[in-house]
Amino acid sequence: MFTAAAFCQAAGDAGIPVTNELVIAKCGACHTRDEHGIMQRISWERSTPEGWQEALKRMIVLDGVTITPPEARTLVGYLSTSHGLAPEEARPVMYDAERRIPDEDSIPYKIRNACTKCHSFARALSWRRSADDWKVFIDAHAAQFQVPHPEEIVAYLTKAAPLHTPAWDAWSAQNTKPPNITGRWLLTASLPGRGKYFGQIEVEAAGDDDYNTHAVLTSVNDGAELLRVGRSVVFGGYAWRGRSQGANAGEQKPDDPNNQTREALWIAPDQSMAEGRWFWGHYQEFGFNVKWRRPSKNPTLLLLDRASFKTGSQANRVRLIGDRFPVGATPADLNFGSGVTVKRVISNTVTEIDAEVDVAADAAIGRRDVTAFGSALSGAIAIYDRVDYVKVVPESSLAAFGDPTHPRGYQQFEAVGYQRGPDGRLHTPDDLDLGPLDPGDLTWSVQVFHEDDEVNKNVVGDVSATGFFTPAAQNPNANFDVWVTATAKDEKNKNGRPLTGKGYLVVTVPSYTFRGHRYVRDLDHWIDDGPATPGGH
């Protein structure tokens, strides 16, 4: 039984006792604690490291909590472990920590719309609360920010994000020792505009949940090697958060992959793999999509250097990247499925097989697995007979002009070929992704909405031959809607016109002033940065 100090929580919700002395000392002045260790609010909440960090910042700014950086880290470490999310709960909202902007269309419109006017819905789903705590939180939020339909939001979140779940009960019982993540991992990555990478990363223990890293990445496209050194922390047994720096530090272009990156990864509960994003840029617009795998004793196929073959094509070169490949591979060691014949193995090392394949004219259209020495890579290659359309990705995006206090925000585009799927319609889930088109097979252009002259390029910015958009150097103090268009040089539509794809880009100002307050951009939202300074912004 909880006392009245347990703050009228509904029956069925057992609070999580707080046992950390620093939390009790720093938070106890406001969050009273009963004889069972139940602290007001804190015992009825769970969240990610970012969630607790944000809560702590709020307490520092609004409630005058004084705390040193090492103490703050201890608090976040304790809370995101003892009052954290289970790995299965954290994975669906990892995009928030990874600073991505995905669709959130699975959330009911009315609920989502109330929250996402100010922040991603992932921020709400990064918390788990008791029914009473959701009500307290949403009521306060509704009063402060005029959130519509608070009762419906409380009902939704109480059901979708309860304090107690089977996943949390299992994880909190299991997560009693440090994760076993030191040693060598196989590393694959992709970087928009630069393609795929492969390599390895060594993880060394460096104290209580700290780790040093040394990574080597090789570009599949041009063989360039990246060396990265980093240091990270693991919160809650699976939440990797850190920084790394390329070896070629110094004066770097904004999109240089040697830039210092932040790292946010999700480590699988069985510690067999980890995945996430290494990102940088003023708006976190650049980033490697990263996956780690534990090495196997057996040959492992990690990736192919191409995404598709056309039916009837001959002598296609393809490189298979992996680990522990036996030297002396023969065509019989590789399998691309029926209708694709491995004609010969051109070269072979322990990490790479260079092969040549023919594709039959009647090979089945679709995605298929590829196998090397018994190691299968699911859906590794697409077989197609025509390109039906080109999609520019991201389909919708942001860039930003700079000013004396804000660097410019850039955007890398890619043009991906697609063949329509069996349903016969374009832009449906069964369409076949053929992979990015080679920049050499494309021309890129920008066009400001409703305009057709070249003058606007000087005002808004321009896109390079590799699809990299750079905003104009001068801030025109306006937002612009822009089409970024990729035109295929060889692929034509049924009317004989070159295939084109368009991405909708909005180029924004970096900040603006409204009713005496200055607003600045943070990823995909404007943040009130406080009163505008007289004579300033």
């Binding site: 389909e395 919708s396 909405f449 100002v509 404007w526």
Partner: protein, 127 residues
């Protein structure tokens, strides 16, 4: 990215003083809302994206000259509850599009009504 960018787009469009171009993202000042025009044509592309979904379509005039038009609509967040999908329109579909034409004479309009292959597709646009 169909929804989350919307907050930033909406706030930016509403609050900014826009000295450079009436069409910079993106109020309705650039459209003539005093009259509705209607054009019939063939879809050349459809973009189901934020901040505005856009249908591009070819219109043939009396002399047989073809001009490509851009019809702008609300965001997928508003269209999806009405049944819209990325595949709702595609190249080759026959459309009749009504809306407010751009004041500067460019072949652009803000769509208030659209009929595709003989069937009206609800937009629920309120002025």
């Amino acid at each position: 990215m169909k929804h989350t960018l919307l907050a930033l787009f909406a706030i930016a469009a509403g609050f900014l003083v826009i000295p450079y171009s009436a069409y910079a993202h993106h109020g309705f000042a650039g459209f003539d809302r005093n009259s509705v025009v209607t054009y019939e044509g063939t879809v050349t592309d459809f973009h189901y994206v934020n901040p505005h979904s856009v249908v591009e379509f070819d219109v043939k005039d009396d002399k047989g000259q073809v001009q490509n038009w851009q019809g702008e609509m609300t965001s997928p967040s508003h269209l999806a509850p009405l049944g819209w999908k990325a595949s709702s329109l595609e190249a080759g579909d026959h459309v009749t599009v009504s809306g407010y034409r751009a004041k500067n004479g460019r072949p652009t309009l803000w769509v208030t009504k659209i009929i595709a292959n003989g069937k009206e597709m609800k937009i629920d646009w309120k002025d």
